[in-house]
């Protein structure tokens, strides 16, 4: 599905279903240098279970035009504009990593509009190591390799994918290689500089779910403790033996957690 947002063409995957204004909507927001395809299984499930699904490609990512947005706040503004452009009054928002921060910020700014939020691999704050920022700034392949190395739990580094025949780390690496020059750096810098996560969390009034990878090195579960406290009454699901790429490493566990949360 193509959507014009602030004069820029945006792509959103809808799970092979036409958008139906009568159905509740879930917006999926990817992380750094990713695109909608990281949500393929989960978003397709909801699209075929009486939900509208918009798994977006953020500006400057995947098939969307424009340049990568420079801050989490800018992405939050853009997500609100997405809802405006699609005439969606209320939506559930699901985000991963950078996308989780953007969803959190959006929920804090749009109390009436955001019905529920699910944050996967969140960390507040989300500092990024200098070595990674430097490599991303220089558009070095090392940046993709470092992220791939840190994003999967040790067991999953050697495979064992639930999705038959797909080599998880190779696929993750290849997806980032497709990102446009500068996208990863812009995304990582947005994560690194975002400092108002707990403020946003304090404003959130909708139900919230946190899905944490037990062995996440990129956004360690311990970094979500303050966020959990700030999000009153939030539900926390910790996926065992999982790293930061939780949707890929444990697609069924993630889907089950999302389904229990969003459909209850």
């Amino acid at each position: 599905m193509r959507i014009e947002i602030k004069g820029t063409s945006t792509y959103a995957y809808t799970g092979s279903r036409a958008f139906d204004p009568a159905l509740p909507t879930i917006v999926f927001v990817h992380g750094a240098a990713h695109d909608h395809s990281v949500w393929a299984l989960q978003s397709r499930y909801f699209a075929h279970h009486r939900r509208n699904v918009l798994a977006v490609d953020l500006p400057g990512h995947g098939r969307s035009g424009g340049e990568p947005l420079a801050s989490v706040e800018a992405i939050a503004e853009w997500l609100a504009a997405l809802l405006d452009a699609t005439h969606i009054e209320h939506a559930a928002l699901v985000g991963h990593s950078l996308g989780a921060l953007a969803v959190l910020e959006t929920a804090g700014r749009n109390l009436e509009r955001v019905e529920s939020i699910a944050l996967l691999g969140p960390s507040v704050p989300m500092p990024v190591a200098d070595v990674l920022l430097d490599a991303a700034k220089a558009d070095e392949h090392l940046a993709y390799e470092l992220i791939t190395g840190w994003s999967f739990a040790p067991g999953h580094q050697l495979g064992g994918n639930q999705q038959p025949g797909v080599w998880m780390t190779g696929n993750a690496l290849r997806l980032m290689e497709r990102s446009q020059p500068g996208a990863l750096y812009a995304d990582l810098l947005a994560c690194h500089r975002y400092s108002d996560g707990l403020v946003a969390a304090g404003k959130v009034r909708c139900p919230a779910l946190l899905i944490l990878g037990q062995r996440d090195l990129m956004a360690p579960a311990k970094n979500a403790v303050a966020l959990t406290a700030a999000l009153a009454g939030c539900r926390v699901v910790t996926v065992p033996d999982c790293g930061h790429s939780v949707m890929t490493e444990a697609p069924d566990a993630v889907l089950d957690a999302l389904r229990d949360f969003l459909c209850s």
Binding site: G159, Q163, R174
Partner: protein
């Protein structure tokens, strides 16, 4: 400096895709000899069928043992994923029919395995897919053969039986210039000797019957997706691959490039190709190939070591007219081989003996350790006469073009003691000379 966390080739050959069995603790990958897999409930069943959940439904589509093998070869090749199929021929067929239908065209190297040549030259035209064969060393010929309906370029990393080294960087560059993928048969080299994706290839397949399994006991094929090719690039590939970019009525109007940015080809190949054509791999076969791959690095080192010694022996023998091995100074692809195949040029090569066809027959029949049969890549050494066997359906003109003469003999060098192999060859050459 911080280094990326990576696992090296030899370790991947043993571990990629596999973990101790969660149900039993079995360290070896279990042979999941089951046609089907139970659903948790109706919703789970529907979600598996509709690609909303990951998992196995029916072993024609996917199987846990085969999936380990698929991940392992993907890891070794540096791809995004793979499909295990019934044979190398099934892998080639699956690649082609996933990308195109009637009215399409392929440009292929003319130095191919005879079975691949048969498929392209005789069988696929019946289904409306034509192929133009070109000298793999002539980039202008590749270019001149391109048509508006060309959908694929195809060659072998090492031509069969002449061992022409495919200039993957240049052929891939030409393919990409025209929005086309390059498919490579990497059977002779295996990922231990060359990883074609690193040189620009887009799809790789293997007859896993050969060096990957390594012991001549199974028939199997593996098709690997590099995940780099952009099937929708404006002005290049856009519009050329509707099987991947347009709704597929056979699977809920799925648009495969929408579902997966990197592995759309694999999705279609599994959701249509394996489902409908059905050339799947049996789990027992996958297990045996996995066992073979565990020792691939060690075996390939020995294959290369033995081959180099035998090549040197034959090149110096008075009964031998020529030896075609890319590491030899006179081989036209020596420089390219040095660049692309620094670890070695495989263990299959051809040579020609001086004399009559009868002397060639005498040579083969005098061998005691080399087995006379139609296969390569076995732990045991093998020999064959291509003109009367593997390439017997190829025209005389094409045989000449492929560098095959009546005196051409192909060896597949195994893992025996090299001295024993050289003694065997020496005895047979002597017998041929006396006949």
């Amino acid at each position: 400096m911080t280094k990326p966390k990576t696992t090296r080739f030899d370790t991947l050959a043993l571990h990629a895709g596999a973990r101790p069995d969660p149900a039993t603790g079995a360290r070896a990958t279990p042979i999941y000899q089951s046609a089907s897999f139970v659903f948790r409930d109706s919703d789970h069943a529907a979600a598996l069928f509709n690609m909303e959940r990951a998992g196995h439904v029916y072993s024609r589509i996917s199987n846990p043992t085969c999936a380990v093998l698929e991940e392992r070869i993907s890891a070794l090749e540096g791809g995004v994923g793979a499909i295990a199929v019934a044979s190398g021929q099934a892998a080639l067929h699956l690649a082609i029919v996933t990308l195109m239908g009637a009215g399409s065209h392929i440009v292929a190297s003319r130095s191919l395995y005879g079975g691949s040549h048969n498929l392209l030259d005789f069988t696929l035209p019946r289904f409306g897919i034509e192929t133009t064969f070109v000298d793999p060393r002539n980039l202008d010929a590749w270019r001149a053969a391109l048509r508006p309906n060309t959908r694929l370029l195809f060659g072998e990393t090492l031509g069969n039986p002449g061992l022409e080294v495919l200039d993957i960087p240049r052929v891939a560059g030409l393919a990409h210039e025209h929005g086309l993928p390059l498919l490579v048969d990497s059977t002779f080299t295996t990922p231990y000797l060359m990883r074609p994706f690193e040189h620009g290839a887009d799809l790789v397949y293997h007859s896993a019957t050969k060096f990957l399994s390594g012991h001549g006991v199974v028939i199997g094929g593996l098709l690997v997706d590099g995940g780099r090719f952009d099937w929708t690039e404006p002005g290049k590939s856009a519009g050329k691959f509707p099987t991947l970019t347009e709704p597929y009525a056979g699977f809920h109007d799925m648009v495969f490039v929408d579902e997966s940015t990197t592995a759309a080809f694999l999705l279609r190949a599994r959701r249509e190709g394996i489902r409908d054509f059905g050339a799947c791999m049996a789990p027992m076969t996958a297990f045996q190939i996995l066992q073979g791959i565990e020792t691939l690095p060690l075996r390939m080192q020995r294959h290369i070591e033995n081959t180099r010694r035998i090549v040197a022996f034959l090149a110096a023998h008075e009964m031998v007219e020529s030896v075609g091995y890319p590491e030899l100074p006179q081989h036209p692809d020596r420089a390219l081989a040095t660049e692309l195949l620094p670890r070695g040029c495989g263990a299959v090569f051809s040579f020609s003996i001086r004399g009559t066809r009868e002397q060639g027959r005498k040579f083969i029949e005098s061998l005691r350790i080399f087995s006379h049969l139609a296969n390569v890549g076995d732990a045991k050494s093998l020999v064959i006469h291509p003109a009367s066997t593997t390439h017997f359906r190829v025209s005389a003109e094409d045989l000449r073009a492929a560098g095959i003469t009546e005196g051409t003999i192909r060896l597949s060098v195994g893992l025996e003691d090299a001295e024993d192999l050289i003694e065997d060859l020496s005895r047979a050459l002597y017998a041929a000379g006396k006949s």
